[in-house]
């Protein structure tokens, strides 16, 4: 009998994932997280001809379309319309892309989940982190556009990391929940993909909320994304730190989404292997 006590790992039937154990595993295998993000980014940029430039071109092209189409309509209410639109759009794009990538990611990495011992949440985490890297690149492009068009870059930008953290937490929560459910029901993925564009138009991204008739505004504000996006737009476009009300609602929304997403994920993850 050896007297050395080895770290023990116990999996009991019917037991959901435990947060401390999952966190410990993610931290212990942080290099896996690094490799997954590295793989996401390098494979993505190796495959496309324009590579790295493509991420930059995407918001530029979109801006061109939206600015040409909508600027005439909204310019009176939103000067520097391109900044108004893009500051929210990059946040939205991160949320939507990451949610879709996270769903695809868990399914795509299904063979891995069945063959190596990895904390199941690592694929969702890596989707969020890769998304954040892409978001950072888009922001650089946005700042360049702002400089060119003469939109002011104000000190409130220093608040942006907090905004992005909230956005990241919100997105992680949604990705965990939706990703787990989509493993069980394949059609959920299509539903989400169909629902996302609708959700975008229900959020004041392209249009300023002031064009919405007074009686519908309360309805629009029921959408939790409004606040999470607002927190990102405020320091970039308005050059202000978000109001404490906005910040409070955005924080509750983000951490609430994470709590709910994790609850769903921890109960479904032990049964993923039967559906992959």
């Amino acid at each position: 009998m050896s007297s050395i006590v080895l770290p023990e790992r116990r999996s009991t039937a019917g037991q959901p994932l435990q947060l401390p154990a999952e966190l410990r595993d993610v931290v212990r295998q942080w290099s896996l997280l690094y490799e997954l993000v590295h793989r996401d980014l390098t494979v993505r940029y190796k495959r496309s001809f324009l590579g790295f430039l493509w991420t930059m071109l995407h918001p530029l092209l979109l801006m061109l379309i939206f600015v040409v189409v909508f600027a005439a309509i909204f310019r009176a209410r939103a000067p520097h319309y391109e900044t108004y639109f893009l500051s929210a759009y990059v946040a939205w794009n991160f949320f939507a892309q990451t949610t879709v990538n996270a769903m695809a990611g868990v399914a795509w990495n299904g063979p891995l989940l069945k063959r190596v011992r990895v904390p199941p949440s690592v694929f969702t985490l890596s989707a969020v982190l890769s998304g954040l890297v892409n978001l950072a690149l888009s922001l650089v492009v946005l700042f360049a556009i702002m400089a060119v068009t003469g939109a002011p870059l104000r000190p409130a930008l220093l608040f942006l990391p907090v905004s992005l953290l909230l956005l990241g937490i919100f997105t992680l929560g949604v990705s965990l929940g939706v990703g787990a459910v989509s493993i069980f029901f394949g059609d959920v993925r299509e539903m989400v993909q169909a629902g996302l564009p609708a959700l975008m138009y229900l959020t004041p991204i392209i249009y300023p909320i002031s064009i919405v008739p007074e009686r519908f505004r309360a309805l629009i504000k029921l959408n939790p994304l409004v606040y999470v996006i607002e927190v990102v737009r405020d320091p970039i476009y308005y050059g202000i730190v978000p109001s404490s009300t906005t910040l409070l609602i955005a924080s509750v929304t983000s951490f609430g989404a994470l709590a709910i997403g994790w609850m769903i994920f921890r109960h479904l993850a032990p049964r993923f292997h039967a559906h992959l």
Binding site: A13, S31, Y34, E35, T42, V43, L112, K114, R115, H273
Partner: protein, 249 residues
């Protein structure tokens, strides 16, 4: 001390899987009975001590791979408890987690991370891995240019170079040529001699006989026999011959 303990372990699946939310809703509205269970593993009790070399044999679909996965903590049991202690390196299928657009070298780091090794760990081992795989001149080429045999060699080199207290090998002896085969056996022997715990799933009874002191025979998800390799393999051979005999007679 036991590095692996399975207590009353069962793994079951629904006989019919429901793949869409639509289907699930329709079924619940129409009050269809839930599909029955299919057991891939049932009532398995197994203890594997530190330093043991255990072979797992049985016909196709007996639940050997499932057993290894539960023991490694990769899948959770549907019944019972599975306990593992210390560092475990599961080698389920050679080539798991390879990314074909990345080079051999990048894949070594990625695969190492999957098995729980940091980049620094891997940096100190990369020369040994490359040398053992014999792929020095191809290591910076994308993996999609490799042959199946080359991929198998790389995967085996990675998995067995990583120092682990327990190594779980699933059918990895089935690939590669004779030379690779001998190399694999030598490596596994080295593991056993160094006091590592080795669990091998294989159809190749000769390999099991030469490497493992203890063998577990499973069939239809249950343990049929568990004991000295010579006894269990002999019994297994007898049973297989018997079931074949009437047809060939």
């Amino acid at each position: 001390m036991n590095v692996i303990e399975l207590h009353g372990v069962g793994v079951r699946y629904r006989e019919t899987r429901i793949h869409s939310l639509k289907e699930a809703l329709v079924r619940s509205v129409r009050r269809h009975p839930k599909p029955g269970w299919f057991y891939s593993l049932r009532d398995v009790d197994l203890n594997i001590g530190q330093g043991d070399a255990v072979g797992i044999i049985g016909p196709n679909g007996a639940g050997k791979s499932t057993l290894l996965r539960v023991a490694a903590g990769i899948i959770a049991p549907s019944e019972g408890v599975a306990i593992s202690r210390g560092n475990l390196a599961p080698v389920m299928e050679l080539g798991t987690g390879f990314e074909y657009e990345l080079s051999g070298r990048e894949n070594i780091f990625f695969n190492g991370a999957l098995l729980g090794c940091s980049r620094r760990d891997m940096r100190s081992r990369i020369d040994e891995i490359v040398a053992f795989s014999g792929l020095e001149s191809f290591i910076d080429a994308p993996l999609r240019t490799y042959s199946t045999g080359m991929i198998a060699r790389l995967a085996f080199a990675i998995a067995t170079t990583i120092a682990a207290e327990t190594v779980l090998l699933d059918e990895i002896l089935a690939v590669g040529d004779a030379a690779f085969h001998r190399q694999c056996q030598a490596r596994i022997e080295r593991f056993v001699n160094n006091g590592a715990t080795v669990v091998i799933v294989s159809h190749e009874l000769e390999a099991i006989e030469s490497l493992c002191s203890r063998t577990v025979w499973i069939s239809q998800g249950r343990v049929v026999a568990d004991g000295r390799t010579a006894d269990v393999v002999a019994a297994y051979r007898g049973a297989t011959l018997q079931s074949v005999a009437p047809a060939s007679a």
